[in-house]
Symmetry: C2
Subunit: 158 residues, 2 copies
């Protein structure tokens, strides 16, 4: 086996990885101090943005208030191959992250998120998201993607 | 199902996750610009450090030359549970990353790395790592871990 590394150039491939992913890992920095966090998300193709549900306070919020620029990765893990290494497809994006405060956009963001993550999004919505109050009390972030690149590492028989 | 989030406090649990992981995602920053990269690694308990094999040049090297402070994550992904969310155990570490230049330490680092990643590390060593030249031409990084924290998100029947 040998490992083949190649750049994924087709934007549709990159968007597919973003649509299929369940969580992203995001790099933030403040005064040259790096920070990292794993977050569930939903990708909205029309806005080319990610919606993320999170607590209303915490380190993430402190970091993006100081510096909204983020860099994130979504990995489609295809396993470790002996004598070859980790095989995967990944998308790395740079973007700006901001707190969503408008309740209509929060509702929209939850739709994006639940449609991507859940098999029965409406069941969850009817159970947990019936009142405006629930949206008001929930934190939501949006990452506007500035650019994305993709990479594939795969194994091939020699 | 409901999701339970808890801090993993037992240092042995955290070290176990570092020992079992195949790759880590690392956040770097330079002049307040964040960067992210996924890398295979081996964890050396005696030095409380990660060894990473990489190219001798590239963005990672530029970033750590400007700022050696990194923040990384190792995720033990336990899958997405409907109506509950992503379940996983994770370790987040802060540390300093530097380029390993000493050939003896490179050999040691490759041992750590291959012992963690491969089922038959000696086969690989005999095949690819017989000459000093190979070590000289290979890039290696070490992350000295300053602190680690761990988190567990799991599903529990209500």
């Amino acid at each position: 086996m040998r490992r083949i590394e190649k750049e994924l150039k087709d934007k549709q491939d990159l968007k597919k990885i973003l649509k299929d992913g369940k969580y992203t890992i995001i790099s933030l920095c403040k005064e040259n101090e790096p920070y990292i966090v794993a977050l569930s998300y939903g990708y909205d193709e029309s806005k080319h943005a990610l919606y993320i549900h999170c607590a209303k306070e915490g380190q993430k919020i402190d970091f993006i208030t100081a510096n909204p620029h983020v860099c994130g990765i979504v990995i489609e893990d295809n396993g470790y191959k002996e004598e070859c290494g980790q095989t995967y497809r990944s998308v790395v994006f740079r973007g700006k992250m901001e707190v969503v405060r408008d309740i209509q956009e929060k509702k929209y963001g939850f739709d994006v998120l639940l449609n991507q993550l859940e098999e029965n999004p409406n069941t969850i919505k009817n159970k947990f998201l019936k009142k405006d109050e629930t949206y008001e009390n929930s934190g939501m972030l949006r990452v506007d993607i500035i650019d994305i690149t993709g990479k594939e590492e795969k194994a091939e028989s020699q």
